[in-house]
């Protein structure tokens, strides 16, 4: 018996893409240890605006680590546009579901990715429709369980 489904447990026990890219094209951090979880994502983007590598460092529970692993897996090989379109729901679906109280972890991953792309866009002078109105410094929503639940 485990707390999470097999996919989540596998990504938690053997997470992919752990670490930090040196000289990343984009770096985003979301959450804080005060809130209970914090995720840092670094990305490498090629000239065709395709994400060729992504790594994460996460402070958080099992589902936060699994969400980071899955989310970085998903964006590697995506165009920046596609990655901006990645919703937390898609991350949850790919994980085969998360307990309601943990949906928040996938939101964290979605935001950390957006933050990393925001950093990339700022650095390279790009604009994306998917970043419109996005504030990388917005406070994390403390009411974890009331947002974007399935």
């Amino acid at each position: 018996m485990a707390l999470y489904n097999e996919t989540v447990m596998e990504h938690f026990m053997n997470p992919h893409n752990v670490g930090e890219i040196e000289n990343p094209d984009g770096k985003g951090t979301y959450g804080s240890p005060v809130c209970g979880d914090m995720m840092q994502i670094t990305i490498k983007v090629d000239e065709e605006e395709k994400i060729v590598d992504a790594k994460f460092k996460t402070f958080g529970c099992g589902s936060a680590i699994a969400s980071s692993s899955m989310a970085t897996d998903m964006i590697i090989g995506m165009s920046v546009e596609e990655a901006l379109d990645l919703s937390n729901k898609k991350i949850v679906d790919e994980l085969g579901g998360l307990p309601p109280a943990k949906i928040h972890c996938s939101v964290l991953a979605e935001h950390a990715i957006k933050s990393a792309i925001y950093d990339y866009a700022t650095k390279y002078g790009k604009t994306y429709a998917g970043l419109e109105g996005f504030d990388p410094d917005a406070e994390e929503d403390h009411h974890h369980d009331d947002i974007e639940e399935e």
Binding site: L3, V18, T29, P33, G36, C61, G62, A101
Partner: protein, 389 residues
């Protein structure tokens, strides 16, 4: 994979001798102890033996022990029952910020019904001070309820001193001793308390049975209404096997108390020494003396408790997070909060409790795995302590 259970404060395995005494009460001595034929009377005899054994463990009279369905019921009963009995005298109850939810949520319920509750603070070591209690007592105070041993950090409150303060003001005193029973010596005569909550499943007895000690003459109304069981104080046909198991567990605990305390505190201290020696950036929460002999509550900086728990579980090691999982909808531990533990540390807190079946080798194995688990999660963490959180 061998399982190493270090969560004895959550519950304990039932000892074989306990199970052995319980089984006949399901199959042979199945009579209702209120019945007047022999199989009923035999059950009654078992019931009264259990009462004597539980009474003996806390130096009470058997007639002062009333069995309940769990520790939670005992807590609910005492608060609701005293509030109801003394509502014409006053509406003020004093408790602490670090009580179990069985007390805190019952207090919140009473607040909705017109009672006023004062929640006393604890100091950074986790203790309630008799002076603070003295200052909180008013003319309308009818009950003080302070737990004997805290379930998260294991601190043992100065119950004798606190009860004396209440008594000096003619106020009834209750202590939730669910975690204390079988882990610290309890003598009701010496402590001078009016009510004590107990539970069997923390002392190698079965789940779903508890008791309330009611000092002879202490005023309290009934909580469960119905038949005339438990000298008309607690209705409901008795959980016979459970109660018999509780009695046997109490007897074993009584005979084994000194050895149990010695065994647990030796292993617990070893656990803490090894953790300190092998893992940097750790902190123990709550005083190390005046503490439950098996309890160790440790914060690991830069990482989160549930992740530690899950990786330990993958190695067959059972512990609990000191704080309800921070990423969930549950609030962080009100106990660690009351102690003034910073939120960043709170999120990385683990409660270990050793018990009678823990071995010296278990401790070595746990620390070996733990140091790897902590190192691995720290490597994965973006928090390094340099950020100023």
């Amino acid at each position: 994979m061998k399982q190493i259970y270090l969560d004895y404060s959550a519950t304990t395995p039932v000892k074989e001798d306990v199970v052995k005494e319980m089984i006949p009460y399901y199959t042979e001595v199945y009579g209702n102890p209120s019945s007047l034929y022999s199989v009923g009377l035999e059950a009654k005899q078992g019931l009264e033996l259990a009462r004597e054994r539980v009474a003996k463990l806390i130096n009470a009279q058997p007639a002062e022990i009333r069995f309940t369905s769990c520790g939670t019921e005992a807590d609910n009963w005492v608060l609701e029952g005293v509030a109801d009995a003394l509502k014409n005298k006053g509406n003020h109850i004093i408790t602490s910020k670090i009580e179990h939810h069985a007390i805190l949520h019952t207090c919140e319920h009473l607040e909705k019904n017109g009672f006023e509750v004062t929640y006393l603070d604890v100091d950074s070591e986790g203790f309630v001070s008799p002076e603070a209690l003295e200052a909180a007592i008013k003319d309308t105070t009818i009950l003080v309820s302070i737990m004997m041993v805290n379930n998260e950090i294991g601190t043992i409150q100065p119950i004798k001193e606190l009860a004396a303060v209440a008594k000096a003001h003619g106020v009834l005193f209750h202590t939730d001793a669910v975690q204390a029973l079988g882990n610290v010596p309890i003598d009701v005569k010496d402590l001078g308390v009016d009510f004590i909550s107990m539970s069997a499943h923390k002392i190698y007895g079965p789940k779903g049975v508890g008791a309330l000690y009611i000092r002879k003459g202490a005023r309290i109304n009934n909580y469960m209404h119905g038949g005339g069981q438990e000298a008309r104080k607690r209705a409901g046909t008795e959980n016979m096997a459970g109660i018999v198991g509780f009695g046997k567990a109490a007897e074993l605990s009584m005979n084994n108390l000194d050895a149990h305390i010695e065994h647990c505190s030796t292993l617990r201290n070893k656990l803490w020494e090894k953790i300190q020696a092998e893992i940097p950036h750790v902190q123990v929460n709550g005083s190390m003396d005046k503490r439950h002999p098996g309890n160790l509550n440790v914060s690991f900086d830069y990482i989160e408790g549930e992740a530690i728990l899950l990786l330990l579980d993958a190695h067959g090691i059972c512990v609990s997070t000191g704080s309800a999982c921070s990423s969930g909808s549950l609030a962080p531990s009100q106990v660690l909060e009351a102690l003034g533990v910073p939120v960043t540390k709170m999120n990385g807190t683990i409660r270990f409790t050793v018990g009678d079946f823990t071995t010296d080798e278990d401790i070595d194995n746990v620390v070996e795995v733990l140091s790897k688990v902590v190192a691995r999660l720290r490597e994965m963490s973006p928090v390094t302590g340099k950020e100023g959180w």
